[in-house]
Symmetry: C2
Subunit: 544 residues, 2 copies
């Protein structure tokens, strides 16, 4: 790999540890009261007889003790999030500080590496070149789920043969659910290897009473906010383009909300609010067209509009249409049709509201809905160009209104750019502390826990450290027609402090140009610039 | 406008001046030998009787002298480029250092502000909040050209009534051509106001023997390179996507070349090379498909491909097709047709090679060519989604080859994101020096000159300062059927040092993953990280 001046400089960036973790040999956990699960206690007790009811753990200073050498395996699961390498380096530094003969192995290319026994020993030399870097390329990642009895048995065999004291699974809500499943399985099979989860995802949908934010969210939002700020400054100068910017984040709108708080766009849709208010596509189009008109009236033929990735599926009639399309497309008469025949046939076949909704869409979107399908044949919701859809429909709407201003829309979609950049100082430091916490959980024989570092709006030295029982975060949800134990996905709540702050400001951002330009993420210099934490966390603590 | 922590920090960033300019009262120019024009000397001598043949000016230290108060007008012309505000602030600081009673006025929203007499006085207080910021929002910009006798006369009247000692036009090749036209006009009408140009454009196509690079190029490339590096790290981790990334830059590929040198993608097309080799669209598609196959053979079902914005019009048969489409679309029988009828009608009407070329394109691109037209009815070449076109054609090509690997393409287009961000330290410092140089040219009664700061690979303290006669950069070119005096647009030359460096490295980048991750632009800290200059300049000087 090529190097860059920044890559070299970042290697030498000094990571600060929470005071509690500075001397890992004197760090310990105190056990709080027993937990239940988030819901469905009876069923979850049956599914997790060994892990159910474990206590909350609170990190504290204790007596310094001798530690034995530890052997830990680590795996990255799911999409990239900046800071993953620092979690691994944190685990490594922690277990080496516990005992010089500790070992860390990395399972390759995600959980399949566990099942297939593919791993490599991680050494100081290699790790130092990954310090404070983005990406998951040190050991790769993957989306395999260890679910079936066969997979679980294979994983057990590999874990057993590696003689692991612990397995650290770095992943999102699903991966942490699977960590609990595997942890339970190991305990039921007399395997003493602790399974510990670490909360990762740029989407920010792994939040709860204990996890203030998953790692990677901060870096992703800062990267997108840099671009949004640049586009805002550009459009404020050129005064002729309306930028429609779609942001990654799956069904949750945390990223859009955070970016809105950082950049003050003229309009931001929050999917959860759209769903709550049961807003139709028509209503969204009207809202944009009203904005364009109102701004044009004061001579502003430009603007910035943010759209969360999950927007379109939260619009009630689109949700129903997509469900119907998935059913119809699975029928043999459709699966055999070519692109040219499918469209008229679908228009004939659909009935009632779905017919009306489908017919109202621009042809390019109709085609996309029918042709762009996932391996199961379903409509690829994430691929729907919401930004294009809105642009086309707003253009038509403005024509019907005899709009006299100018509407020059430009579309952007930001996603992959934000998953693997150099982690922000916040993510770099947070992840390093998470790695230490995960190592301590393994050392102290705790399985089925999520490593948790809290109090993040304070300086890193004073962060709190916890262990949270994974099962305490779970309830049952329907997945593919079956009730499954899952960690609840955290969506934006319109009653939350972050949304409330946004709601109190957005009318001011509509016509006035109150754009804010965060600029490129800075790593060195004034901490007021370099060490900021996500505003959605700050807004629940201190005022902005 | 909202503020951001970085905005505040950047205001206090200390700009370094070249030693020559530190004491502007003792700075002076020595006149070198008389110049001719780049070509067509006889015609240009007739067009510019007053400005033709002026000498090259070289900045030097002289005796300190008393300066009288100056009144300068400044205007921003064309698309945004980071650093424009610093040029204006440089002019301001320079004329205030010359005499405390100097004045600077800013013409609003581009050259139309001169014609219409719309301007505002610029004051220290307002300017300090724009120090080291991106965008042109301080006074706006525009694309009006002052060309007609009526416009010129109006401009003269405004300039006269404002009693300007000088007018500084910050713009690209066309704007600097127009600066010469206006400067000549003023002299012919006994107006003593000096007209001075400043080389601006992110495209980097305003380069010559004197101008090493236009301002804004560095910031734009660093912004795009950050994103390309992030995508490279992401795809190296996920190992499943081939990213097609289109980069702004109009017909020149300097940006693509610079970004390639900074990030080491697997494949980069350079439009000028494609034109030189007369590569067909078919050949480009084959080149990408060969790459995808070769990488898949070693298990790499992912990659990074850079495409310059001007690529498609440099493909010979596409160039001919677009020319033919422009002719046909101007006919009444086409202008009256709706979107549905135009496509079959065009397929019927086209003949020979153009028919074959058009028919070979994906339907979405055919539609785009017919429907997306500029105000003159021409095909909008910049809007053609080259990245989509290549993706569709490569997908089809791989099917015919019974490709066994995986090809999951993703498309990106980076442009407006890079025009208005916070200027890099290089652009901020360079622009400030350009502002001082422009002010000195006005003070010393030089008109029809371009401000020029050179030796840019050295530290700013030792930069050289020059004045270059605008007419010496000009020759005649056909524009809209007429021979017009223009400053030649600088394209990438395949014999140049930068391209040669790229050509010597690219085969190594093809299959090996030698990706380089520049990360977000840094402003504070180690100068090796913060103060880098464009590699296309460095490659012509010292080795990388």
């Amino acid at each position: 790999m090529g190097s860059s001046p920044l890559l070299k400089a970042r290697r030498n960036y000094k990571l600060v540890l929470p005071k509690l973790l500075e001397d890992i040999k004197s760090f310990t956990f105190s056990e709080g009261k027993a937990t239940a699960s988030l819901g469905d206690q009876d069923e979850l007790k049956k599914l997790f007889p060994k892990l159910f009811g474990r206590p909350i753990l609170k990190g504290k200073k204790g007596e310094s003790r001798q530690n034995k050498p530890l052997k830990i395996g680590v795996v990255l699961s799911g999409g990239q999030a900046s800071g993953g390498h620092n979690v691994i380096i944190g685990i490594f530094d922690a277990i080496k500080a516990m005992h010089a003969e500790s070992h860390l192995i990395g399972f390759l290319n995600g959980p399949s590496g566990i099942v297939e026994g593919k791993y490599k020993e991680l050494q100081q030399g290699e790790l130092s070149s990954f310090r404070n870097t983005g990406g998951f390329d040190l050991i790769g990642s993957g989306r395999t789920k260890i679910e079936t009895e066969e997979q679980l048995a294979k994983a057990l065999a590999v874990i057993h043969s590696c003689e692991l004291d612990g397995l650290v699974i770095i992943g999102g809500d699903d991966s942490n659910t699977n960590a609990a499943v595997l942890g339970e399985y190991l305990l039921q099979h007399q395997c003493k290897t602790s399974v510990v989860g670490v909360p990762k995802t740029i989407d920010g949908d792994l939040q709860n009473d204990y996890v203030e934010i998953s790692f990677g969210f901060d870096t992703a939002c800062k990267t997108y906010a840099e671009m949004i700020g640049n586009l805002s400054r550009d459009t404020l100068s050129a005064k002729k383009y309306t930028h429609f910017i779609k942001l990654m984040g799956r069904s949750a709108s945390h990223i859009a909300l955070e970016c809105a708080l950082q950049t003050h766009p003229n309009l931001t849709f929050i999917s959860e609010e759209v769903a709550e208010k049961k807003q139709t596509l028509r209503a969204l189009v009207k809202e944009v067209a009203d904005l364009v008109e109102a701004r044009a009236e004061v001579g502003k033929n430009y603007g910035i509009i943010l759209l969360p990735e999950g927007l379109i599926e939260q619009v009630p009639e689109m949700h129903r249409l997509i469900t119907e399309l998935n059913t119809l497309l699975a029928r043999p008469e459709f699966s055999s049709l070519g692109p040219k025949e499918a469209l008229p046939k679908m228009l004939q076949t659909l009935q009632g509201e779905q017919k009306t909704t489908f017919a109202s869409l621009p042809e390019s979107i109709q085609r996309q809905l029918l042709l762009d399908r996932d391996p199961h044949g379903n409509v690829q919701v994430a691929h729907i160009e919401t930004e294009k859809l809105l642009i086309e429909m707003v253009s038509s709407e403005l024509k019907t209104r005899q709009f006299k201003g100018k509407f020059n829309p430009l579309q952007h979609s930001f996603g992959y750019e934000g998953r693997a950049g150099f982690p922000s100082n916040f993510d770099a430091t947070y992840c390093y502390a998470l790695g230490f916490t995960a190592a301590a959980l393994v050392r102290d024989y705790y399985s089925g826990y999520m490593a948790c570092v809290r109090g993040l709006i304070a300086p890193a030295q004073s962060w709190d450290v916890m262990g949270v029982p994974l099962v305490s975060l779970m309830h049952l949800e329907m997945r593919k027609g079956k009730k499954k134990p899952v960690i609840e996905k955290a969506l934006v709540t319109t009653k939350g402090a972050a949304f409330q702050l946004f709601a109190s400001r957005r009318s001011q951002w509509r016509i006035e140009d109150d754009y804010c330009f965060p600029g490129p993420m800075q790593f060195f210099g004034d901490p007021a610039v370099t060490d900021t934490v996500p505003l959605i966390i700050r807004s629940s603590g201190s005022p902005m």
